[in-house]
């Protein structure tokens, strides 16, 4: 991985802004889908597709690629938008999200869109799939890495912990797990629905190396990914603290936006807010 210089960082942040706009447009056109998690993970997907991953967008099945497993498949609009931005497929396809015959299924299906790696959506399974893939890579001494993004809500699935036991037993240091710690799930705050804390302590007790970072700060996230790659005797899990709905003020930190999309005036407002994000991306009059 190359060092992340300031000018590259600025470009990544600009990419993230474009991807956020694409996500909102996709969700408006699809009129169903998951807004909050998609916007919250945009910076992480941007970091992956434009800085971290060793990949070839025009040759998505290249055998030497790093594998990015998305366990919480419902945030796939962010992944689709980042992939289109990276050149995996034409951006015109983004408008087909969730529509008949589209490669962009409501939840990811690798047989319909190359580059997705796994089928996901039903929660708790990506962690196991990533661990299995990392184990296969260990057997073959493959040079590529496995990354797995999972949600905090799906930590309530017992299967996730079965997978963590396995990853620790076989010291899968070639796999980095990233928990999208956005504190929300469908019905409310995670700590109200089913408390998860103390999370870092739980992972350490499962023999994981734990990193924590701000998941909407690309530099902070990239640094955590770099530190994870230096760990050789344990798998690493990064708790990435993200803001659900990041970029759209009225969605930020609101669990109500987990599984719905903006309509009418909300849609207009969301796009306007993205265009003026922190005043540093685009001006309102652009």
């Amino acid at each position: 991985m190359h060092p992340l210089h300031d000018d590259k960082l600025k470009k990544l942040e600009e990419r993230a802004a474009v991807i956020r706009e694409d996500i909102i447009k996709m969700l408006i056109t699809a009129s169903s889908g998951h807004s909050a998690g998609s916007l919250g993970l945009t910076d992480i997907f941007t970091a992956f597709y434009f800085h971290i991953l060793n990949h070839k967008p025009k040759n998505p099945n290249w055998s030497g690629r790093d594998r990015l497993i998305l366990s919480n498949g419902h945030v796939c609009p962010a992944r689709y938008a980042a992939m289109a931005e990276a050149g995996y497929f034409s951006k015109t396809k983004l408008a087909t999200l969730r529509k008949l015959d589209s490669p962009l299924q409501g939840h990811p299906e690798p047989h319909r869109l190359a580059g997705l790696e796994t089928t996901s959506g039903p929660l708790g399974e990506g962690t196991s799939q990533a661990a299995g893939l990392a184990y296969a890579a260990k057997i073959d001494k493959a040079p590529w890495r496995v990354y797995c993004i999972l949600s905090d809500g799906e930590l309530q699935e017992g299967q996730t912990w079965e997978a963590l036991l396995f990853a620790a037993k076989y010291k899968l240091n070639n796999c980095t797990f990233i928990v999208d710690r956005n504190n929300i799930q469908i019905e409310g705050r995670t700590e109200d629905v089913m408390p998860l804390e103390p999370l870092a302590k739980k992972f350490r007790a499962f023999n994981f190396h734990v990193e924590e970072c701000a998941g909407n700060d690309i530099r902070d996230f990239v640094n955590a990914i770099e530190r994870a790659q230096e760990i050789t005797e344990q798998p690493t899990i990064i708790i990435a603290y993200t803001i659900p709905g990041r970029g759209v003020d009225f969605m930020e930190n609101k669990f109500e936006w987990h599984g719905k999309t903006p309509v009418g005036l909300e849609a207009k407002l969301a796009l306007n807010e993205l265009r003026t994000l922190k005043g540093k991306i685009k001006s309102e009059h652009e």
Partner: protein, 323 residues
Amino acid sequence: MPFYLKEKPRLKFAATRDGFGEGLLEAGKKNKKIVALSADLTESTRCLPFKNKFPERFVQLGVSEQSMASIAAGLSLGGKIPFITSYAVFSPGRNWEQIRTCIALQKSNVKIIGSHAGLNVGADGASHQGLEDIALTRVLPGMTVLVPCDAIEAKKATLAAAKIVGPVYLRLSREASPIFTKPNTSFKVGIAEIFRPGKDATIIAAGPIVYEALKAAENLSKKNKLNIRVINCHTIKPLDTKTIIAAAKQTGAVVTAEEHMVAGGLGSAVAELLAENYPVPMEFIGVKDTFGESGQPQELMEKYGLTAKYIERAVLRVIKRKK
């Protein structure tokens, strides 16, 4: 001792799981991509020889069947051919949704081995007697479902499963049952075998109960002068439509026999096919919407109506219904 031992003292017995263990070892020797996954049941699912021979390709997961199904899907993404092994009640029972999403929908090259299927599990009782696994697996698009009738066929089915690119479910039994096929008996996935010719009615069976079906046909020949065709339908999916429709046309009546719930199993698959293509009177031998219980395997077969005697009665009933 089962009573037919007295009839045929030279008949040898082995469980279909034993045949699987031999097949897995042989498949492992032929193909280095094969890995075996165990959820703390290595010996009883007969994976021990494979584990001893190929320790680097054996993965012990502990008691975690759900994760095992998804981990296997991950291994297959990495180019491996994983065999996941457990009891049928746990896999594909407990981990059915993981199999649906990560293996069937994802088209993963994973082999699901469900041992201890059926009532012959015996003393462990209803919680451990898998009677729903054929229904659970055959409902999944793209899944091949194999139910070998004896240990020799189980070995062939294991080797065949290793060669299929895609998901396969292989159903195995705990209890030793008669070995009545030979190493050179034909076995092709998707091709049902006519084990006994006949024109008066057809018994279509899968699993060790095929032997009971053959005994029933023999008895009906002696006592009632009836010529009963017996079909070993080891592949529940894809079903051999040609052989089954031909049997319905030529014999005019069908009895299915399986050590599984009547709902959703082999009988249902045959009924779906014939209802649409060539309806004939049918009778179903199987477990009738009830759970099992503890007991000796042979006692359970008798109590739940899964022996030759019950198959004979079903054949006589179905022949009476012929037009």
